[in-house]
Amino acid sequence: MPQNTMIKVENLTKTFGNFTAVKGISFDVKKGEIFGFLGANGAGKTTAIKMLIGISKPTRGTAVVAGFDVQTDSEKVKRNIGYMSQKFSMYDDLTIRENIVFFGGIYGLSRQEIKQKTEQLVQELELENYIDQLVISLPLGWKQKLAFSVAMLHEPQIVFLDEPTGGVDPITRRQFWEMIYAKAHTGTTIFVTTHYMDEAEYCDRVSIMVDGSIEALDSPKGLKEIYGVNSMNDVFLKLARNIE
């Protein structure tokens, strides 16, 4: 695998009984790239992501993530990636500090590192006054920004974000994307799913999954040109509608 390829997926397939959720998808993601992984509900995105982060075994095909094969080295994959989703990001009944200590420990950081990271993180997010509050008491937007930073505690080369901004207010949603941009700028690879099509425009490249297969993969600009439309929303509607 070339040094600058962070994800290499070849013919990745997952079947459940006689249902094929992911049908032999192939793609690469480069270092420092913001890669948008789009698709309708039920298109197979979540199944594909579960394989990429090492918690579900592919039925066929290969995926190499951060240099490790998800089939044979799934534990190493997990240690070398960051992950957050809308549904699970942090423990609501722990404080901010406790969450950082907990995840720092899971990721194998030393006490000294955790202490230093905690200070740095709450300072960057201006959460100094809230550090000993339960996470459940935070507004969703703060929580998601914090969750992103926690997912980056161990400085992974790649982070998976599964609908990180669902329901978040428009200003915080944009601040969240500024954090993504800043991380990508320093070489971190971002793999992100979203239902907000304006966010798809912020990605370097976007893939669109329909019915278990990747139907389109290009830069947002390229996709708009191919489909002869003005926005990613229209690209999405066109692709998913054509299939029906």
Partner: protein, 299 residues
């Protein structure tokens, strides 16, 4: 008569969920509560559906008081909560049958109301509701909320987490329901759905920022919005933030929306500034605001 909400407030222990909220929904109107998570939308829904009593204020639904006449209200409204709340271990058909029965009606009696929607899920009518995909669950929930021919329909974030195609289909269904004269109160965090409502209330942190038709909100917005593009989006955002004339700048898809401190700033000035910052492929154009622009400017 639709829905009348007068000065309601609700506190949970130390947190004020909503404060002094008032709005009116006319009979047959499609009214949207537009705001992010935590704005207080669900608290309002619980109060108007008689599930929660406000600390102060008064609400009537179809002329009935939500505190005194809650039983009557429950018979004449349909409610689709934000969380999927049908019986997961009943089939599609059983769920619908169940809701029809408890409201003392039958599926066939009001079938015309749900026909358009139900035919889309009918192929799966023997499937357990828990095994449906997100889009299909949402369609079934809407059918169950409609089967007793409610006068007022409450939809709390029906499209959250739903992909753009299913969202579009859902709104088309709502538009068709309007022909039956059903009053609809719907909430959403997606600002682009606002323009599909007759009138909207923009809501944040428990307070209403504005109520109007989407068209009038757009017409009455007094600031100029500049749509700006260049070849490097990240640096464009950073440079516009540092621009001395900046009032606000936000990323919008493939461009930036920029509002200057004063309307006197010209296109030329913005272009020249970006040229000094070595941007190429610069495009600067005045555009009509979106509801999202207005929401961000108010919040």
């Amino acid at each position: 008569m639709g829905i009348l909400v007068e000065n309601i407030s609700k506190k949970y222990q130390n947190t004020t969920a909503i404060q002094d909220i008032s709005f009116e929904v006319n009979k047959g109107e499609l009214f949207g509560l537009i705001g992010p998570d935590g704005a207080g939308k669900t608290t309002i829904f619980r109060i108007v559906t008689t599930l929660l009593i406000p600390n102060s204020g008064k609400v009537t639904v179809a002329g009935l008081d939500v505190v005194q006449q809650y039983k009557q209200i429950r018979n004449i409204v349909g409610y689709m909560p934000g969380k999927f709340s049908l019986y997961q271990d009943l089939t599609v058909e059983e769920n619908l049958q169940f809701f029809a029965t408890i409201f003392g009606t039958t599926i066939s009696e009001n079938y015309h109301l749900i026909k358009d929607i139900y035919t889309q899920i009918e192929p799966y009518k023997a499937r357990r509701a828990g095994a449906l995909s997100g889009g299909m669950k949402q369609k079934l929930a809407l059918c169950c909320a409609l089967i007793h021919k409610p006068k007022v329909l409450f939809l709390d974030e029906p499209t959250t987490g739903v992909d753009p195609v299913s969202r579009k289909e859902f709104w088309e269904m709502l538009k068709r329901l309007k022909q039956f004269g059903i009053t609809i109160l719907v909430s959403t965090p997606y600002m682009d759905e606002a323009s599909l409502c007759d009138r909207i209330a923009l809501i944040q942190k428990g307070k209403i920022l504005k109520i109007d038709t989407p068209q009038r909100l757009i017409q009455n917005f007094s600031k100029i919005i500049w749509n700006i593009k260049s070849s490097n989006k990240y640096l464009l955002l950073e440079d516009l933030k540092a621009f001395e004339h900046k009032h606000s700048v936000f990323a919008f898809g493939d461009s930036m929306h920029f509002i200057a401190k004063t309307d006197l700033v010209s296109k030329k000035e913005i272009e020249n500034y970006l040229k000094t910052k070595n941007h190429s492929d610069i495009e600067v154009n005045k555009i009509e605001p979106t509801i999202e622009d207005i929401f961000m400017d108010l919040s």
